[in-house]
Symmetry: C2
Subunit: 431 residues, 2 copies
């Protein structure tokens, strides 16, 4: 079997842990599998590098004297380039160390970093997108019987500049490598056992999901981001590579993230997720004429605010209320931006209300496509607990509700119960 494994920063956080990882990899190799290992920087290293960069940029004085382009203009792209060149060294260090530990354990290994990886990206220095992988050097090392240890998180742009893939980019590196070399599976080794039906810290009987499809995993983003970068799942989905999220501390099976198959639809709800990061905004008594809503979201879009749920009430008497959610961190600036829109600033009847005290709960499952009544069952479960639903939005495989923040955890438990997520589903091996 050809396997790509990815170990995160805490798994290679010090030399002892690197030895543990080397031992695990060596045993896997000995069992007969061909192995490509992608590593993150040692825990804390990337933050250390970024803090050095920040200190240089915030405290030094710009000495522009007309003859020179001002710091702000030089900055941006040039700084992002250097930041990538700088940050990429973290993964280079852990890759070389792990490779050494493998060689020392008698398991031939070679690290591949930077230009050796053949990982091509666009020119977005610190948030680059992968455009392709030349797998020749990885293949060459595999053919020599070596474990190939790849520095994650980094690639090269068309000019040969080092780019980085953004936080969590090593997951994406690993999936991309798995795609390029046609690996049988991409294993993401982490400090949790897999993906759960909901957050086990909130719901004690949350259950590990043995198999989940890409679409569900993406919709359960807030469960998933603690485990792996959603971007890597999108990449895996695009190319159909199986991702296995499992613990680096034991050899238990974790969660397989795979293409949807028939058995999966037998399970209506795969998991429920709680998101406490949003806030609610209502613009009341908007003039109900064409262009109003476009104006609202145009302003927010230009300000870089990502709007999530949007609800517009049915029109009554040429006025309408528009309610939506934004990241809580952007609430103040969003309200400010909105207040400057002409029809809001000039019309005393129009108001902007905001409420940071909300929670969003999402119920996710591909089985919803063929089952009806999920929303009704959710409302009933919430009503039984006396929880008022403030907003609802539905997609093909997801129902999201907004409730008062103080009811968030209670609502999550109620929904986890209502859909029987604590018990393994009968019949469906897909879990």
């Amino acid at each position: 079997m050809l396997v790509v494994q990815k170990y995160g920063g805490s798994s290679v956080g010090d030399l002892d842990r690197i030895r543990v990882v080397a031992d695990r990899c060596a045993r896997r190799r000995r069992a007969g599998d061909d192995l490509v290992v992608v590593v993150s920087a040692m825990a804390g290293q990337t933050d250390h590098l970024i803090s050095m960069a920040n200190e240089l940029v915030t405290t030094s004085q710009s000495e522009s004297d007309g003859q020179w382009i001002s710091s702000a203009r030089v900055g941006d792209n040039a700084h992002q380039r250097e930041l990538s060149q700088l940050m990429s060294t973290g993964e280079k260090v852990s890759a070389a160390l792990l490779s050494m530990a493998l060689n020392e354990a008698g398991c031939p290994a070679a690290s591949l970093v930077g230009h050796q990886l053949g990982l091509r990206t666009d020119r977005q220095f610190t948030n680059a997108r992968i455009t392709g992988i030349e797998q020749s050097q990885v293949r060459r090392e595999l053919d020599k019987g070596r474990v190939v240890v790849c520095a994650g998180f980094q690639g090269l742009d068309p000019e040969g500049n080092i780019t980085t893939l953004g936080r969590g980019g090593s997951d994406t590196s690993a999936v991309a490598m798995a795609v390029a070399i046609g690996a049988d599976v991409c294993e993401i080794l982490t400090d949790v056992d897999g993906v759960y039906t909901t957050d086990p810290r909130v719901v004690s009987d949350a259950r590990k999901i043995p198999r989940i499809c890409y679409e569900e995993m993406i919709e359960l983003a807030s469960l998933g981001t603690k485990v792996l970068q959603i971007r890597s799942v999108e990449f895996a989905m695009k190319y159909g590579v199986a991702v296995h999220v499992r613990s680096s501390l034991n050899t238990n099976e974790g969660t397989m993230i795979v293409p949807e198959d028939e058995s999966m639809e037998k399970v209506v709800v795969r998991g429920v997720a709680l998101d406490r990061s949003e806030a609610k905004v209502t613009v009341t008594n908007c003039p109900d004429v064409p262009g109003t809503v476009a104006k609202l979201f145009g302003v927010l879009g230009r300000a870089g605010v990502v709007v999530d749920m949007i609800i517009q009430n049915a029109s009554r008497s040429r006025r309408t209320d528009v309610t939506f959610t934004v990241p809580r961190a952007d609430l103040t600036s969003s309200v400010e931006q909105l207040s400057q829109i002409d029809f809001i600033a000039d019309d005393a009847e129009v108001g902007v209300l905001s409420d940071p005290e909300i929670s969003k709960i999402s119920i996710v499952g591909v089985g919803m496509r063929s089952h009806t009544g999920v929303a009704a069952r959710a409302f009933e479960a919430l009503a039984n607990e006396g929880i008022n639903v403030q907003m609802v939005s539905t997609s093909e495989i997801k129902v999201s509700v907004v409730v008062a923040a103080k009811y968030g955890e209670l609502a999550l438990r109620a929904l986890h119960d209502a859909f029987g997520l604590a018990e393994a589903p009968r019949g469906a091996d897909g879990g």
Copy 2:
């Protein structure tokens, strides 16, 4: 003017010092010079990386089980490769940070590291020799008006593996870069003001030498190694590039290391150097037959011992004494090796004597070629102080003497005085 500058690890030892270097480079750039800057790793960083590698290799257990190549055999080359991949990250970090600091100061800059440098080497991972430089990327950045900040110490072998040039390799990187781009001068910025007529810590009236030729600099290695790697001087000599050793703490002129010119011969002695790192070995009563001496030095050569001075007394009665010096650290093993040679082990008349308590003083100057009597003047000066000369060897531009270690510093002062090195030479602008 096109200038290559090299800053060592202490000059970029922390973020404040990096800002100071950036400021210096920015001023130089503003004054109109095109600038390529080569940096070492931040002080201590290379040692930190090596110590991690050593810990991994010395404490982990080899788990060879027959199926796997044993650690020792995997080791060597594979380990050296990883060590280079690892160590090279130190210079990458300082290059990116200095480039950031330059951009922040409004002076456009770009770092070039690893594959971007175009510096090609042989396959000797941690002690690679430069085989060539593709200057295209450096040129491209210079043409954009940028200061080019190069990570020192590293190159690529023909397979694209990262190699490192051995300790002090950043000096060699800088000189090689100067050769490749046809720089007017390669400045080595360091924490001393230049090259002195002798060690100022031993001789208080040692004088800074304004100009010295490559050959003299190489012969004065023991003065020079504190200042710059002799290997870089050999490289500079081969390609005739001027090297300027100067302080990173002020803008004083330092020492220009240049091709020999006529004015230089007017100065008989350029400097005197004290070397306390050697020990003396005498093999007494050797059979004076062909092959004896070859046997002695063959054994030492195979043991990796570098023999420096060799003296063989004129033969008397078919027996001869052979005296030579070896690094003091190799003295014990040298004596052991020699004792196993057949004609020494089997012949009670032959003995091996050793003396670690010696100092070697070298008197260097290209002017010796056209002046006689240097050795005589040296002996006279030493005799005046009651110092016995144990060994002498001479080359075209050097006289070396061995004296008892306790007289080393006194001998150095006596010779510095005898050749009038404290005073600037009259007439010769070469100093």
